[in-house]
Amino acid sequence: MIELQAVERRFQVGDEIVHGLRGVSLSIADGDYLSIMGPSGSGKSTLLNILGLLDRPDAGHYRLEGTETTTQDEEARAGLRQHHIGFVFQAFHLIPRLTAAQNIALPMTLAGVAPAQRERRVAEVLQAMGLSDRARHTPNQLSGGQRQRVAIGRAIVMQPQVLLADEPTGNLDQHSGGEVIKVLEQLNDQGITLIVVTHDPAIGARARRRIRMLDGAIESDQ
């Protein structure tokens, strides 16, 4: 369960204050599937970063699974990110010197999961992402679609409750983009809460719940 209440996010740009989010309130049930759309600069990424605990609201409340997160310290928030949230980015953000398997294992490595357990879980995830034969490839040996599937694998390897995807198909052609969305929806079918920011109306329309943003506020929520 995700509960945002009157969340504000302001940025100082020179002498000016830019409003990233203005009083956003939103609650999202476990297992839901949301799309967030809206023009560039409307605050979609800012909202997603706050949901993912990468960013902190300047005002308002954010409760994740009943825990008030706005007052937590950096370490506690890192812990929540580690166990409850998975991120997928437009630019993949794979580490180029690590293999697909090592990239997927990274969150577990950072969390100090024992190597044997890590290997078992990574094999599982590779299989689920259809990448078993690509385990030892580095990102530059993979296609865009494969890279994004590695990134999704990394996002779910710790079995989070929430999966946040910021324009996951933005760098992909139509075909691989479609595949990536299919993978994400499969994960949602298995119970994960899926929130996708997208520019593509066709992709946005697939979600159960569709949110439109404008100028830092929620314009419509269907």
Binding site: S45, N49, G52, L54, D55, E74, E75, A78, G79, R81, Q82, H83, F87, F89, A91, H93, I95, P96, R97, L98, L106, P107, T109, L110, A111, G112, R154, A155, M158
Partner: protein, 401 residues
């Protein structure tokens, strides 16, 4: 994150930037190697000097005629030349309990000849005590005969070089040699013991002190070598020697006494200080290498901004990022230090091969200190880049804003 993964990750990042890593290793290893090599040279010099002094004899006091005073007072009006040190003065030293042995010494140069061959060498007049005091070994025959030192027998002990030059491989014991115009019977040959403080021990002849005094027509002694009973009795021996001279020279202790151990410990102190100093100067290069590490790591942090943001996004806390980058700097410093030790070992071996007589050896503290300073430099100078990485805002890091 466990340490093994941490190290693997840091090593992977370092391998990812080969040139940079290589240059850093070079800088650090040169620093460590120069600390070890320079201190090895300093310590070698110290050992060399200590060995030289030790070869003079143990617990040795050297008495020479005349006072060597630099303190105060006008020079004596009547230009009093110091009284000679006589053989009786020397023998009187044995009255002190603190003194074990005494060897009077007269030195001159004279031609020594046998058959048609002749050589100008140092002639030492002394007593049999000279041999144990100066650690002179006899290869063949006997040292000087015991007995009344005031009566000079016509016998000689040849240095090994001199024996070789005059006799070649022929038998020398029992043969006669001529020194100036006197005949001496060869009763012993010195073992080949090389050089001592610049004096070639092979190229000389030792005869009884009274014979030398007659030969050179000098009643005075050049030196008196005094061996104290033990290290602890050196000061007592020195005092006793002065007392005895004062009693015999109408209340004037007009001699200079040099104690070998005082000289030795002075040199020892100076050379130890020198070793520390050169080591310290070389350690500056480690600090320079540390500053290089800082710069390289700062570049690395800004190049890996997105990677840092990503690690935070997947759950790395600031402390963990800090540790990750610190381990990287430490690994760099440690690997550099290890390479430096290998470099130093190679350098030491090369120098030993080139100068086999020089007792080159790094003091044990040198490699330990060098590695410690290298790691400390890695830690201290790795801190700023690691903190910068840890404090990075993940959103900005990921968007490259």
């Amino acid at each position: 994150m466990n340490l093994g993964d941490n190290l693997r990750m840091a090593a992977g990042a370092l391998r990812g930037a080969r040139l940079r890593t290589g240059l850093m290793l070079l800088a650090m290893s040169i620093g460590v190697a120069s600390v070890v090599l320079l201190t090895a040279l300093g310590e070698g010099a110290r050992r060399y000097v200590v060995n030289e002094f030790a070869s003079l004899g143990t617990h040795l006091l050297i008495m020479l005629p005349g006072r060597n005073e630099t303190t105060g007072g006008a020079p004596p009006l009547l230009g009093a030349t110091p009284r000679d040190l006589t053989l009786d003065d020397a023998l009187a030293m044995l009255r002190s309990q603190a003194i074990l042995r005494v060897a009077p010494l007269t030195i001159g140069n004279a031609p020594v000849s046998h058959g048609g061959l002749s050589r100008e060498v140092s002639v030492l007049g002394s007593t049999p005590e000279l041999f144990p005091i100066r650690h002179l070994d006899i290869a063949q025959g006997d040292p000087l005969p015991a007995g009344d030192p005031t009566r000079g027998a016509a016998v000689a002990v040849l240095g090994s070089t001199l024996k070789q030059e005059l006799f070649g491989h022929r038998h020398a014991l029992g043969e006669w040699v001529r020194i100036n115009d006197r005949r001496f019977r060869v009763i012993g040959i010195l073992a080949d013991s090389g050089e001592s403080l610049g004096q070639d021990l092979g190229d000389m002849v030792i005869i009884p002190v009274a014979s030398a005094q007659a030969l050179f027509n000098t009643p005075g002694l050049f030196r008196v070598l005094i061996q104290a009973r033990s290290l602890a009795s050196i000061p007592a021996a020195q005092r006793a020697a002065r007392e005895i001279i004062r009693a015999r020279h109408d209340g004037e202790d007009d001699v200079t006494i040099i104690t070998q151990d005082a000289l030795l410990s002075t040199f020892d102190k100076i050379l130890r200080a020198l070793t520390f100093t050169v080591g310290g100067i070389a350690a500056i290069s480690l600090v320079v290498a540390g500053i290089l590490i800082m710069n390289v790591m700062l570049v690395s942090v800004s190049q890996r901004t997105a990677e840092i943001g990503l690690m935070k996004a997947v759950g790395a806390a600031n402390r963990q990022i800090l540790r990750l980058f610190l381990v990287e700097s430490l690994l760099l410093a440690g690997a550099g230090a290890g390479t430096g030790l290998l470099l130093a070992a190679a350098g030491t071996a090369a120098l030993r091969a080139a100068f086999p007589d020089f007792p080159l050896a790094a003091p044990t503290w040198a490699p330990l200190a060098a590695v410690t300073v290298a790691l400390l430099a890695g830690l201290v100078f790795g801190l700023a880049p690691a903190r910068r990485a840890a404090r990075m805002d993940p959103v900005r890091a990921l968007t490259g804003r």
